[in-house]
Symmetry: D2
Subunit: 347 residues, 4 copies
């Protein structure tokens, strides 16, 4: 574990990419990350131009991306904080060249074509794309930790998806949920999840003092949730909302249990499932997570309230969409891919 | 209709009371409201002391409350923007003296003792309290318009309850909801709903950049919702959240329909039910309300999204908790009690 | 005064234009305003498209602008809520056709070429432009009330400029300010002042939890301030800041007095100067205005604090940038142009 | 430098105290800080109770304060994040017992009695208090770095004071400021600076969408500013404002220079003065700091704009009031007191 990993980032000027750069810059077992700019991706010369907060001293230049540069600099892992079309095109090339990839886009998260359709992919070679999809590891360490050491392509999960999947998996695996009855996931996210591009939706005047439900029955993270939970799409409703805050997600999840139970039993299910997961905090019965507790950390916080009938359960799941929902999880994945401590650079 | 109504307000220095005072001050068929202060309710001498924004010119003095003052000044309607204990004690006295009351607290909204328990009432004469409860009209004009002209005690609905009841009633009355399946109401409210008292929960640092779920399965508005919807308490889950905004509520409501249907049919149910309701705006399919559209108005905005299977329905209901959720609704009730135009003073 | 004015608005889909439409729609002596769209100014068909909050019932269609339409519909006053280049081009045409104009842009506010330069005007006929400039009335009623009844072109003041000029004029006219010493105006504005166009500067992530000083020594309102205060540009420093709030301006203004004085004397200067100004509220010594008091009103609130030495004075001036700083002031100007009550439609 | 420092904190449940605890918990050369509660200071048993965000794993118990505990646990430095009355009483006791203190309150920052009066101190033994005051080092390392290694009592500066003093000192030391002319400091702070106690001033409804100037000519930090800048109180005006954001200060500082100069020369003055100061970032001419750049860091960011006349200068100074304005600076002081690297635990 004494060797240090050499990471490279494409897309470090986006919100998730910048968080990633900051994490890697202070990671004790990572070398200074190479910051690479795609051709035509803008005129920013250094990370400092885009984010004066990055440092008072160091300057972090962006270099033009090329596969040759990756090779010449001995890059061990390439982080793609790029639009999904770019990730879709580049991952096969990376595979060919033997470069391990952690992709923060939605390009490689989905197994079923019906779910991928929402991204509009028109792969020239569908069979090849299918093969690489099957090879990709869905980078939620709490579910797929064992596959990460050998992974060559890690599909870093969506932010909403992470909050929902971590909130539901223990209950579903334990078999206590009446999934036929239907599950409701009411999720609320801060604005950084909408990206850095200025649009009418991210204009301060449209967000401040407001709350908006959007993409009901149409959100891209829906497919991830269904596939990872191994349920049918008819068994779950997922409604995202845009909160007037910079960062953080809170998902309120409603399930009916097959039989009445106690708060202690529900608590035990969560505690037991996450006993070896350093980045999931299970709240004691009677306490609920809040967005402010998880923001600026890599934790996913889970709590719940059980109805007096012992059968209707409300799970509250909170995380920082830029950390556990993106860049922090990407580093967690990197740590596990390279045999580093899971919490390195994330404490 | 040429005669003008003389209103009085107790509690005009609270958030809802102040909105009420502002509405009545510019109401074309109301005389200047009498502003009355309960003994020991603080040292504010004029409304301007508490709210310098009220005017640059006029001064609005608070007078000590007494039943004699009410009589002497020919008060037609007494608005109680007071704690529920106060309203619980004062309404019988008002009845005795023949003073019509619009009560903004939760004191007289609930028929069932199991729901009232949450307010901790210990009525000395339970039978008398029951009688007055039965006499009280639940002041949601969209449901009980016809009872208002003769009402002597109007229980102005809770803000969350208004948003949920207006979002569900048309569907339940039409008989299309599978209520056995269970209904989920995920509601989010601005901070003014939490009152003017400074507490750790309303401290800017605890609210800003945050979102909190609270009082799950325990919120006081739950009883109103169940009673007015005429369902059982096991058929609905209601989760309130505290939003980092000053005012506004958005409720996301999840129901399963008994049979698949179309968006046009759902839209028709809402349009038809609210065709004579001037303060409910039904959004066309494909458009959803946002909090910013309803804030500073007396509208409740309703929209919906229907799943591709035509059977799972998400209703979005928005309103301003201080207006349609409190003071605006109180004025709407006054208008109907006194034969004024329903929209007078609220346009 | 029984006749009603027919207004028309170009640019009602911008923030100030929309506020103007709302004010005129409920103005008791204005007919329903004609809403006109410039060619190529977007695909919005009705005001409701851009602002669903405008009403639940009425629909407010935008019509294509033409001078013929203005004439055919008997328009009495044309409000230009347009970019300054458009206003610069259209005002001469309006003059030719005898249409009275209230222009909300900066096109006609400035007498001195050095100040106009900042707008980049390249008038084909400079002499004609100068003539029209001299004819234009700077529409700050508190200073130029008497010129408004006969005005054909009213240059509605800038929002920052209104707050600063109203805060300083009484002191300068009274001759108590040591202007040689220099005046400092530190102004802070909400985001609506930056316009509806989504840019990186108005992105929620750049504004929320932040404060930014900008355009120091370079802001366009500087020229207005200097000209209206009749001081030299070397005598005043003006620094605007962008606040993380939707609307409102607070200007903190620092002056040195020629001689020590008392708070009572300063108060008297303000009270006396604004005794006939219905939209300026002078706060008593010891009380300072806050943005929240003036937002959603047409008031400019003024207060001050005097140093123990009686010679250094801090004036605080607050207003709503979309009302007293734009649309409200435009209506106030219309009222005075047409002999209506100054407060009509603004209470 | 291999030995690790043992810190103790009184007041870790306040905002600054909590930041301090977080910093020390991850400080590479500090042992786990002892968290001490004053008698009667509340019922919080662990830091986690007050701040669930502190960790998912560790529990941080608060122990009752006693001097014996300090001695028994080998405490090297006692941080007082306590009200100034408490700090005033305890510092002499600490001196007696040979415990080095970093005091985050205003108790020991002021040399002149006229300035101390604002804190209302009634020292039983004025001479003793004066002696200890003279012994105290004003803990602004950029000014007093050399005194820190031997300091026994460090008076950690106020947040506003830090932003103003760092923005002005280079110019005053260089002798370019016309101080006679007067200096204006217009400062804006986030709400955490107002403390954790819920009051009407920190209620979300009073802060959100608002801006307030307060304590003009009366703020407690004024004395620090005057003493540290070595100017007279008549030469500076300081106006604090409360911003609707959780944390961060931006001070806009206005000075007149004795003679016209260039932006390059001003930049050189700042660069040169802070060349060895790791926590001051001087922005290049044409760039101004924003609050968002400094929040969550220990930097004070400085930038400026020079008028075309070369003589009127606007300096913008930004910092995080809880870090460089409080807890971060306290750690920086500790580092220098104990011969550690100045940036340890603060990068």
């Amino acid at each position: 574990m004494s060797a240090r990993v050499q990471p490279a980032i494409v897309g470090a000027t986006g919100y998730a990419g910048f968080e990633l750069a900051r994490l890697l810059l202070r990671h004790p077992h990572a070398k200074t990350p190479l910051l690479l700019a795609r051709e035509g991706s803008g005129s920013v010369a250094t990370l400092n131009d885009a984010y004066p907060q990055v440092s008072g001293n160091g300057s972090y230049p962006l270099e033009p991306f090329s596969w040759e540069t990756l090779a010449a600099r001995g890059v061990d892992v390439l982080f793609l904080a790029t639009p999904h079309e770019v990730s879709r095109a580049w991952a096969p090339e990376a595979e060919k060249r033997g470069v391990r990839v952690v992709d923060l886009s939605g390009a490689w998260r989905l197994r079923r074509q019906e779910h991928r359709a929402v991204y509009g992919f028109k792969d020239a070679d569908v069979a090849a794309a299918d093969r690489l999809t099957r090879k990709a590891v869905y980078g939620l360490p709490e579910l797929h930790r064992k596959k990460l050491p050998s992974a060559t392509l890690v599909a870093n999960p969506g932010c909403y998806a992470t909050s929902v999947i971590l909130g539901l998996t223990p209950l579903l695996r334990e078999g206590v949920v009446d999934a036929e009855h239907g599950i409701v996931c009411d999720s609320k996210s801060g604005v950084s999840g909408a990206g850095k591009e200025p649009t009418s939706k991210t204009h301060f005047m449209e967000v401040a003092d407001n709350l908006t439900a959007y993409a009901v029955f149409e959100h891209r993270h829906f497919g991830e949730i269904v596939e990872q939970l191994e349920i049918s799409s008819g068994q779950i409703v997922f409604t995202p909302h845009l909160l007037p805050i910079p960062r953080g997600i809170l998902s309120t999840i409603y399930v009916r249990l097959k039989a009445p139970t106690t708060a202690a039993a529900v608590h035990e299910i969560f505690k037991s499932f996450y006993q070896s997961a350093p980045f999931v905090r299970v709240f004691a019965p009677g306490k609920l997570p809040q967005i402010q507790y998880s923001v600026h950390t890599n934790y996913c916080d889970l709590g719940f309230a059980l109805a007096p009938d012992g059968q209707r359960l409300v799970v509250v799941s909170c995380l920082d969409n830029l950390l556990k929902g993106a860049a922090g999880q990407a580093v967690q994945n990197m740590n596990l891919m390279f045999g580093l401590g899971e919490q390195e650079g994330l404490a």
